[in-house]
């Protein structure tokens, strides 16, 4: 039977400079820190990062930012890392800001083959400037386009060797939806089990979305 478990070195070596990379996590919870550290070590640069936050100073995506590896960030809340603001003001990073609900929905659209969707969020605000708007049933909606990535780095709790995934508590957040929208999907997990060990009713990410599984705590 196929086995998608590989080393972090092997998985991350599939990522090229210039890639658009989705990274799961809300704050640092549910963030694939091992994969990010390996990406830092391997040296890929000129990255577009699609992530709700860009880490913290000296931690997670914050490290990639400080090392000048990130060209552009797409997400909803970068304020929590002051380094983003410094890089932005120096013109070292491009930023695209989307309401958090539109952000997660755009990723879902990317994974689900939806060409675009209308949401009320941001309609009539400065954040919608330059976007197509449409009145539907008397209410103003904004057209948002799907987000997709070359690679999705996600953090799950348990994987089976086929690549089925479950998550833990609020570490789930953006991970399952990002698993649907990357051409290459790498999952960092706490535990690897055999097919059949995960309840088929409780698998959150079916294996068809996952390319590689990297187990934490393994060399």
């Amino acid at each position: 039977m196929r086995n998608k478990v590989v080393t972090k070195e092997e998985a991350v070596s599939q990522i090229r400079s210039g890639s658009a990379i989705m990274v799961g996590g809300f704050g640092q919870v549910g963030t694939p820190l091992l994969l990010i550290d390996e990406l830092l070590r391997q040296g890929q640069r000129d990255l577009t990062i699609i992530s709700n936050n860009v880490g913290e100073p000296g931690r997670g995506l914050g490290l990639l930012l400080e090392h000048g590896r990130i060209r552009k960030a797409i997400g909803s809340y970068f304020t929590s890392n002051p380094v983003v603001g410094q890089h932005y003001l120096r013109g070292e990073i491009e930023v695209q800001l989307i309401p958090q609900g539109s952000f997660s929905e755009a990723i879902r659209a990317g994974g689900a083959g939806i060409g675009g969707f209308y949401t009320r969020a941001s309609a009539g605000t400065t954040l919608a400037e330059g976007k197509e708007q449409k009145v539907i049933n008397g209410q103003l909606y904004v057209l948002e386009y799907p987000l997709v990535a070359d690679v999705s780095l996600i953090r799950a709790y348990r994987a089976d060797t086929l690549g089925n995934l479950t998550y833990r508590k609020t570490a789930r957040n953006f991970n399952p939806v990002m698993a649907t929208a990357g051409k290459l999907v790498i999952a960092e997990v706490d535990e690897v089990v055999s097919p059949g060990d995960l309840d088929p009713e409780s698998i959150v990410t079916p294996h068809l979305y996952v390319d590689f599984v990297v187990q934490r705590g393994m060399m």
């Binding site: 929590s80 958090q100 009320r120 941001s122 605000t125 609020t170």
Partner: protein, 219 residues
Amino acid sequence: MSDMDFKAIIAARAALELQDGDIVNLGVGIPTLVVNYLPEGREVFMHTENGLLGVGPTPAPDHVDPDLINASKLPVTQTVGCSFFASDESFAMIRGGHIDVTILGALQVDTRGRVANWSVPGKPILGVGGAMDLLIGAKRVIVTMSHTDRNGNPKIVEECTLPLTADRNVNVVITDLAVFKVEPQGLVLTELLSGATLDEVTAKTGARFDVKLVETTTG
């Protein structure tokens, strides 16, 4: 009045707005205090946009679960009967009208009850988070904020000078001095809090409002 006092007054009054069985999403800051003032026996269900319905109180320091946080990225607990879900599902709940009440902070509220709470003047816009989604999606929106800013200037104004968060008006505005309901014609002062007088509230408010005082329930 100490900073803690004024926050407590606002949170206590906001708690009275919650009905038995309500699904409630609490924003950052004062709103998070509301749970401490729920009337005895009132059962509400706390939703957090990072993927949990059934947010419980802050854990003791030695019971913190690093995978269990709220949207303010603070450690929380989970209640009996809670459920975890991904961010896209969480915002589907918010946009889809499945949240009964959201309580949010604001920088400004205009005479029609529209709020500005996502962008600070003179700073690059690097965070929006879920506020726009909550504002357009929640059935009822309650704003909690200090009546004036730190320089004593009114935060309730004829027109917001900061960019609006949504084109939708909120339902209730609760400050340390007053409660306003938002009616079709605009703001209506319904309660005076903290022993404030009508003259004081009028002086510290930068927008027209109607007055229909009802019995004050706290303060």
